[in-house]
């Protein structure tokens, strides 16, 4: 999903020339946008996030079989001029029936990717993994979330530009709450997880987005939740957190 929100500061993003690959004189895409290769011709990639790194744009997503039966987390690094995409970078080697949308972010000299999959109805395996500027794994995957809650999903990460830190979120099925926690560049989670929403009504799947306001040192989190349990109209909320 959407993924989106403030993943790249436009003023800090690598430059490329519009009018180069992918855009014709009318502003439409040409017929040959850059293809993102997967490890096998039998797979294709569902992008979930584009993160800027010093070496280009890292597109992370779920590499899936053509029938969507199995998925795993992978990505491609695209050069800043969009002239070339790397081969598939595999973050988790095993395919799963239920893999969650992957996320990635780069801040300062460090990058991380978050990903995970459902093991069974009461257990998930979530991970965070340090990456290098080429988007490749720079260390072994570590368990995520840091409190090792066994039933989580919808992992998100954004850079807190200028701090060297990252903001991460995850949804805890058992608590029916989304949590926020800060990750340092050294891979250390700081403080305790903070609930994002006030109510323990279920926050909808894959629906949290985050943004960072460097001037006010605030994290904005947009999310959707049921107004009351069960299934009354679903409302959009924004929670604002300060970084102290």
């Amino acid at each position: 999903m959407g993924l989106s929100g403030l993943r790249v500061n436009p003023e800090q993003a690598p430059a490329f020339m519009l009018g180069g690959r992918g855009v014709d004189s009318t502003g439409r895409f040409t017929s040959s946008p850059l293809e993102l290769p997967t490890a096998s011709k039998a797979h294709f990639l569902q992008p979930t996030r584009i993160a800027a790194t010093p070496n280009g744009y890292l597109v992370v997503g779920l590499e899936t079989y053509a029938d969507y039966s199995l998925r795993r987390t992978s990505g491609n690094l695209v050069t800043t001029d969009l002239s070339k995409a790397s081969k598939a970078i595999i973050y988790e080697s095993s395919f799963s029936e239920h893999a969650f949308a992957a996320d990635a972010a780069w801040e300062g000299k460090t990058g991380y990717t978050l990903f995970g999959r459902r093991v069974n109805d009461s257990k998930t395996s979530g991970y965070f993994r340090k990456i290098n500027a080429a988007g490749k794994p720079a260390a072994a995957a570590k368990k995520f979330p840091p409190n090792k809650a066994p039933n989580t999903c919808n992992y998100r990460i954004i850079p807190l530009t200028g701090t060297g830190w990252f903001a991460t979120t995850w949804y805890d099925y058992s608590q029916e709450l989304m949590y926020l926690q800060i990750l340092s560049s050294k891979g250390t989670f700081m403080g305790s997880p903070v609930p994002i929403s006030e109510n323990a009504y279920r926050i909808l799947d894959d629906v949290v987005d985050m943004a960072w306001d460097a001037a006010s040192q605030r994290i904005l989190v947009a999310y959707a939740e049921y107004a009351a349990a069960p299934s009354t109209p679903e409302d959009i909320w924004v929670a604002i957190f300060s970084l102290e």
Binding site: L6, P33, L34, T48, V59, A224, I240
Partner: protein
Amino acid sequence: MKKIFVICWCVISLSAIASAQTLVTRSVVSDQKGKDYAPNIVPTSDGQWAVFWARDKGSENVMIRGRGLQSDGTILTGIRNLIGATLYRQTTFGGASLGKGQIVVGGTRESDRQIVTRVYDSKLIAKANLVATGQTGFNTTFAPCASGVLLAWTDAIGAHIAPLDPFADAKPRLSRRGREATLLYSAP
């Protein structure tokens, strides 16, 4: 003495870290009259943000709605209908900052599964016509870059990435010679 200093320093540090993120405010931004989900939040200009989300229309269709707010939570605009086309909900939609107070919002159009985008200012007023990219696809993922916006998506043969000119529009444009109106772009 040194040990006591180190212990005190550690306690103070841990205390500071423990309050690393503190809730400032929390408020509902949708009209609470329907099924709204999948919010996105992107910066429009200094200290101002656009939140936009899907309003369920049934039958796998959604409309995109949004509003502007400040980083202290102050609401800047009423709820606006964005894009102007019904989107296919079984896909992602999104957006990105263009800088200079503008954003682009886009997704897969329900009628023809074509990826469409539109530019808005910080008050969520449209600044360009709807752009149909000429590509059909899903998993639309946006990211800003120095010269515009990047769009990654999936179609029947795999995933792709391309830069998007979000100001291209469907208006008829005169050819340079001006002898006759030439429609340089028309949605398929």
